[in-house]
Amino acid sequence: MVHTAATDSHLLKKDHLKGFLRKLAKEYRLVAPVRNRHGDVLFTVIDDLDAAEIELSEPPQNSLKQFFLPQQEQLSTYTVTPEGYDFHPVQATIPPTIYFGVHPCDLSAVLYMDVVFSRRQRDPFYLRRRHGSVLIGVNCNSPSPNCFCNATGSGPFLEMGSDLQLTDLGDRFLVETGRAPGQALIERWQGFFSPSADKDRAAHYQAFLEARGRFSRQVHVEQAIRQLEADTVEEKIWQELSLRCQDCGGCAYLCPTCTCFTISDQRLDAASGRRLRSWDACTFAGFTAMAGDHNPVQAKTAAIRQRFTHKLRDDVRLNGRPSCVGCGRCVSICFGGTDIVRFVERVCQGSL
């Protein structure tokens, strides 16, 4: 990967960031990582730009998943009348939204979700939210202790995929234009931007090199991918991990690329109800259970095998790259120490 900024990149002084965002907020709903009063950084819809403490240096605890695939959403309503059993589509208007300050891991995750929700069938609910969304990324200068996006090819700097891509150069951002909507924003609000000089691009490259050196973990994702493809992961590793998995589903819920969902009916009264889609996790036994208590995924190890095999083998086969983006969220949430880093480390140890 080449991480030299293009010569047509721009500069945005940090002092002008709020002013730029204020302009954007007039036409778009604005979502950005905000530090709340308990100290947590979360992607949040910003209503009051002046009250919001936007935090770009610390990865948010949530990803953008909830904005495109809400934890629960209504797919339809239904009624049961003497005329019959009918389904009614939901009419929802999703405001055009700018997602600002998206780290490369989370940006990569959105690009992966784009594939999931349009490869075989175009998912109307996902695409409705995704259309009209603008992604403004920020390259990651300070990976957290659990981060390993360098090992999954999804960071710390990203070259494409976003509409605008920012790099923190101290008192200013270097701004690279990606997709057309980003270019349009720059043109529309030219006053905020100035052309970048060679020294800015050199600083950008320097920042990239420094960021790359700041990872505290060396996670050999490639090796795990190879072993899964060659089917040489020892059975005892699966056994160890499944014994330790506490079956909480936290990894899947926090994961920016875990998009498995379930669909269920919520009865409102005898004659009506709502059909809901909600997040699910392949590690739950109930995920594959069929009517009459039969479950084709019976072995204790099968569920956890599915989780890692999907991310590191099946998606590599399908998309040429793993669907783990190295954000490290599962590492911080996992109860039992059966997160993906633990898996990769165990596989690497096993092959020593």
Binding site: R119, F261, T262, D265, M290, A291, V297, H310
Partner: protein, 281 residues
């Protein structure tokens, strides 16, 4: 503005036109979409499935058991197993349900043309194969000899009796067996694999289509392998829990494949590449 995208999750209303009670646990529902134009244009292929909605019960995948050669309605043969299927057994003619589909990769009818077809089924497993048998019978010169081996728990559990009789009359070699006999039963008793012993097959031009519970499935596979069937000559259709039906939700995962879009029909050669309970157990 982008074009509106079809709501792939929205079921359409279908009306129960007829109900055939197959046994105490299985019934076949003859259905037509309430929207006549949609119903007339509706097409599917043998081996595909529908997602059925029942009020407050969500959705469940059910194989289509009728043949596309007779458009106008679809048959769903349903065994009482969970909440939704139990609710279906309470349906009466004129009631409505929700349907979306058809989904899934069908049986490769083109490739089966000209071949002798050996159907081996247990219990509700005959439902998806029924679509193929009926379809073959409606295209008399297209396929070779048809043989149906069907296992049931007891003689009173034998489902699809009228179909079996009809097929028999149309020249299909239909053979039945039960796990446990009842008074008056003078047919075969034992595993469906035993029925394979007496068959005179032209191995090189035969293809086997199997559907049934995992234990039966594995026993039949072993027996067919002994008889000389290659893995490419064996087709089956897999049963999995499903939600979306279109390859997104991943409930039906099978070691990298998804039953809803990569299947439900698979050749044994394809399945052998996967770690799945049906073959490992």
């Amino acid at each position: 503005m982008p074009q509106p995208i079809t709501d792939i999750y929205l079921p359409r209303q279908a009306r129960v036109e007829q109900i055939e009670i197959e046994n105490s646990q299985i019934a076949t529902f003859v259905l037509a979409f309430s929207d006549r134009r949609y119903n007339d244009a509706f097409r599917y292929q043998p081996g595909q499935f529908m997602l059925v909605s029942m009020p407050h019960c969500g959705e469940a995948p059910i194989s289509i058991s009728s043949t596309p050669t007779r458009p106008g309605n679809i048959h769903l043969s349903v065994r009482k197993a969970g909440k939704l299927t139990t609710a279906m057994h309470g349906l009466r003619v004129g009631d409505t349900i929700g349907l979306r589909g058809p989904y899934g990769r069908p049986f490769p009818m083109e490739q089966l043309a000209g071949r002798d077809l050996l159907f081996v089924a247990g219990g509700i497993g005959l439902a998806p194969l029924r679509a193929v048998v009926s379809s073959c019978l409606d295209q008399p010169d297209r396929f070779g000899a048809l043989t149906v081996l069907y296992g049931s728990r007891t003689p009173s559990d034998i489902a699809f009796q009228s179909d079996l009789e009809l097929w028999h009359n149309q020249g299909v070699d239909c053979r039945l067996t039960v796990d446990a006999a009842e008074p008056g039963w003078d047919g075969s008793v034992g595993l469906v694999t035993a029925l394979l012993d007496d068959l005179a097959l032209k191995l090189d031009k035969s293809t086997a289509l199997i559907c049934g519970p995992p234990l039966m499935f594995r026993a039949v596979l072993r027996r067919l392998a002994d008889m000389g069937f290659s893995d490419h000559q064996v087709l089956t259709t897999m049963e999995r829990h499903m939600k979306c039906g279109v390859g997104i939700c991943r409930h039906c995962h099978m070691d990298g494949k998804l039953a809803c879009v990569d299947g439900p029909v698979f050749s044994l050669a394809e399945l052998r590449k996967l770690k799945i309970m049906e073959l490992d157990g």
